[in-house]
Symmetry: C2
């Protein structure tokens, strides 16, 4: 995972949350992920692959951040993590990954996306079998926090 | 998910377990998956995508089946689900998916694979955001049971 591959994820995250959920996010400092636990209450995962690249992207939201994001996105108030919220995490995962994919394509790196899956629960053991390090990028919203974790092995 | 797309997964599973872990498996009856919980103690997930296809494959092992499979595969006795066992599930997921991929290619369906990830724990909520139904295929080993779950949306 090269440093130059972090920005497409940060840009796509900022854009998707602003456009789809009227939520301003503040990116924190990227770091190498050292455990293998889910950060938040709901986590979207999506597989990535292309001719020269293979990996995964993860988006993991704490309760306060995702409830307020989905409430704004869908225009009704959500107070618990139900199926609509979990599905919305899948959609957000898709959109963030799609935005990053567009920026990677402009950099000459063609990436395809699998279908997203969603893991519900905090501190669930979710391990990578990957050649690259996983980079974790925290984001603060007005109500809470979420992280993007990207693992991209460029051949 | 079409019925003709089930056999490549069954064939690859039978071959990989026989070749890599000297384990004969007995396939059960495929069914549509109706819940969104992990079946077993360790679960491998891998994203799939190609020009005309998008989806995921899941392999979920109960404790007795995976401990005996990994013991035979690595030539030492494992009695608990540790990092080696979890990593082996990732490798097995990769190999089964790779075998199915080869058979799909012979059928004219080009599929690429993302990196596998592994979820540890039984009854973990793992949901699909996918257009296709998920087909669940149970397999019995001499010691236990595991399931393959495939979700393949062919455009």
């Amino acid at each position: 995972m090269k440093a130059e591959h972090i920005n497409p994820f940060i840009n796509a995250t900022t854009n998707v949350l602003k456009t789809m959920a009227m939520t301003s996010v503040t990116p924190g400092k990227p770091a190498i992920k050292t455990d293998n636990k889910t950060f938040g209450e709901v986590t979207g995962v999506i597989g990535l692959m292309g001719e020269n690249v293979v990996g995964n992207m993860i988006v993991s939201f704490d309760g306060p951040s995702i409830l307020s994001i989905v409430s704004r996105m869908l225009g009704e108030t959500f107070t618990e993590i139900n199926k609509d919220v979990v599905d919305a995490v899948g959609e957000i995962t898709n959109m963030i990954c799609g935005g990053a994919k567009t920026e990677f394509a402009e950099m000459g790196l063609g990436i395809g996306m699998a279908s997203p899956m969603m893991v519900t629960g905090k501190d669930i053991e979710l391990s990578q079998l990957a050649k690259a390090l996983t980079i974790s990028m925290p984001f603060d919203t007005p109500e809470g926090r979420f992280v993007i974790e990207a693992n991209l092995h460029v051949k």
